[in-house]
Amino acid sequence: MSNEKTPSRSEWPLWEVFIRGQHGMSHRHVGSLHAPDAEMAIKNARDVYTRRNEGVSIWVVEAKHIAATAPGEKGPFFEPSESKVYRHPTFFDIPDEVGHM
């Protein structure tokens, strides 16, 4: 390994940004940015991601605090559900009066 130890750099940490588009919707991941602390991360998110009236609420979380699945575990994690169509509610007749679902 040529790069065993990451050199220490005085860069700001990376934050992931989640924005609620309107009341009643869930927060959605919109991107990431750098900031020295949580307060500045929220301000930066406001300036970078809500310039065109995209949001009513912002969450930020430092990227290192997100636990994620590894790409290598894709098979065991996700493939088994591919063949289980009965988990989808597609075998029910929906009465016409229900309208669009």
Binding site: W12, L33, H34, A35, P36, E39, M40, K43, N44, R46, D47, V48, R51
Partner: protein, 255 residues
Amino acid sequence: MAEVDNKALFEFLVRMGDNTLILGHRVSEWCGHAPILEEDIALANTALDLLGQTKMWLDYAGKVQGEGKTADDLAFLRDAWDLRNVLLVELPNGDFGQTLMRQFLFDAWHSIILGHLLKSSDDDVRAIAQKASKEVAYHLERSADTVVGLGDGTPESHKRMQAALDYLWPYVGEMFETDDIDRAMAAAGVAPEPSGLKADFDALTGRVLADATLTIPEGKFAHKGGRNGYMHTEHLGHLLCEMQWLQRAYPGCEW
């Protein structure tokens, strides 16, 4: 309440509009050059807010003047001696710290005067203040945080912020100068006398600059001459040269 004299009202409006025009242009000079992407976008947002406010102030000024001039005419076709911005906003950006210190000092004054203008006797002034005060509340929050972050940061950032404060502080006094125009505006209930805003400004800046571990210079000297058009600094002409050259070289050009 005293009758509003249109000449005095026009002067007041261009003072407001020229402050935001010139500072907006100065801040926009950082576009594409700020130390990091996030700050670059944040500064561009601030510049755009200020230009939006400029349009409102100068459009109304044009209406009051009654010569059929638009905000564009007033922004791009007046020369330095007709501009009425305070000297503080025309000073060069310097380093990032100096830019943010200038922004903070202006934002502090700006937020305080806009708070008073929300109660103006003039409907248009009140409407402009309502829109602008929300934008400026955010500008102030951001610039104050940055001043604290850099002032109470590394030895290098602290040194630069103190140098910025030392350089800019003598330009603060002009924002609180009160002349006949201000007295006419106050008598008509349009705007407060600037001198009356000083106590709130001192309290606000005192708190933030103490958090930033910075020392306010003791000198009482104040550079003046911007808001009354007596004499701008040599920096304004250069700024206008860049800002106005297109309208000067191609009069009436639109795109």
